[in-house]
Amino acid sequence: MIELLPIGAIFWAAFPFFVGFSIYLLPQLSRALTLVVTFSSLIFAGLIFWLDSPQTFQLLDSFGVTLTVDTLGGFFILTNALVTLAVLLYCWRSDKVSFFYTQLILLHGSVNAAFLCADFISLYVALEVLSIASFLLVTYSRSPRSIWVGLRYLFISNTAMLFYLVGTALVFKATHSFQFQGLIESPPEATALIFLGLLAKGGIFVSGLWLPQTHSQAESPVSAMLSGVVVKTAVLAMVRCALLAPALDPVLRLAGVATALLGVAAGMVERDTKRMLALSTVSQLGFVLAVPATAGAYALTHGLAKGALFLVAGALPSRDFKVLQEKPIALSLWAFGTIAALSVSGMPLIGGFVTKALVSKSLPLWQGVALNVAAVGTAALCAKLIFLPHSAAVTAPGKVKNLLPSMVVLLGGLMVANGVNPSAYSSLDTLVKAVGIVGGGWLLYWIIIRRVTLKLPWGVERLEHLTGTMSLSAIAIFLLVLYLMPLGGVTP
């Protein structure tokens, strides 16, 4: 079985692209084919967990493509499969044309490829294909506003990837290979440039300020894909690098804490539901980065919950919290949103709790304190959705019928995710702490946040400023890496 894994992995990685382009020939089968692709990913992820033997294989010689199949990536692949499945079920009855499903499959495939590869060039190709597919999905409505948001995304991601390519060339110059391991022996500027690209692509800290507008402007199923899985491609690559080169671990931890606090602080005062969710993504990615070893499990629960939240937000009657607070929403919508929001806050009984416990188990003090502050903020931010007025008398909008199957997938997945770390329930400390964090967050919500909405300056989100920020973060990361790896890249 294990001997067949390399061939299986290659076939599985190429499969979505074959299917995606054959939709052009068979447009009437678009939805069924998308379903087949998502199931193939589900099966592959299941296979990874069942075999449970981390494998890295090289195709062709030492210059060939390197692929890694392990449970860390398995979690991400599972997230991708489930979120895509939920998005597909949500769109099943909509009037989306086959073009949409083609792009969805290509996005799904390139995300899978990015989760699989372990060398910088394959990752580059996967990330670029992914940006093209995301652009086409974001601009699906063809409105001028969506085209602008898509263009802005391409500008940022393409510039980031150009820096990344320079970093990759430096790695090749130093080690004669493109593998992730090469980072250990490369000069600090290579690491700085590669991380600059990945941080921008992954939406981390100030390099990720492009994310709120992009994710909130897209249609909700697309936002669910973007926030649920797409940004995690770059995050997984960084996590893999940090696991191979432990000297880089502090960079990730620092970036993780910074983005966790920034995202949550900006999200708390946000008035727009989808922007708030996008900012919460910026913050939650910090938890994924915080402990490389547990990144997979956290990414799974976050992806499922955030996918569900975006789909629910798309069905709400308004995007403005002020309007939503005045008129009750349908009970079913509220219930779906609340379960997902409780998971993000880390409430016991739902998947988010066990993975949060997993992350906070092995943190140094400074990181633990900062992440707990961010967790309280997250609970406060989610409280904005949980405490929306609701009533059983309100008839749910027609979209809720489409919502049901995808909610079964996402929220059911969250419940099953409890099995990732069942030991969390046996420790009273963890339970009390989780409830305390959620309670603290709700208190914060009722005392302050409910009354405050700030209009944050939008200047930082302008294209020129986003590009300029990139040069600043390049310098910051370079100095940090120089400090961490003082001996010209040789790990102490």
């Binding site: 001028p144 602008w148 263009l151 110059k173 922007r275 300029g468």
Partner: protein
């Protein structure tokens, strides 16, 4: 001696492109600046390939022995070919987007576009 100079010029190209991306107001100019930047990156790969030698790494007869140190490294060139194609297609995509935007915003000034589509 020539190598460090070339390297400096290549990086200057990258930086020029990056500055153009920030300074230029028009969207089309920004795309051109991005192209300048990617030209710099491509040139850098070619430079890395030419570090150990400059001949094309093609053996003209089956038993020709490629002398170590005189032939260019084929790997970075092969790799950058992919990046060129991707960069080209991204640029085409962006230009199509800009054409669509130009209908409502004929000047294509980033400031004006951003102000009219602000959240």
């Amino acid at each position: 001696m020539i190598m460090p100079v070339l390297e400096a010029l290549v990086f200057a190209t990258v930086i020029c492109g990056f500055f153009g991306l920030i300074i230029k107001k028009s969207l089309v100019m920004k795309i051109i600046a991005m192209d300048v930047m990617s030209t710099g990156v491509i040139a850098y790969y070619v430079l890395v390939a030419g570090r150990i030698g400059l001949f094309a790494p093609i053996a003209d007869s089956p038993d020709a022995i490629l002398e170590n140190g005189s032939y260019a490294d084929p790997v970075p060139q092969a790799v950058i070919l992919t990046a060129i194609v991707i960069g080209f297609s991204l640029q085409a995509l962006m230009l199509v987007g800009v054409m669509k935007l130009a209908r409502d915003n004929p000047t294509l000034e980033t400031d004006a576009i951003e102000r009219s589509y602000r959240p």
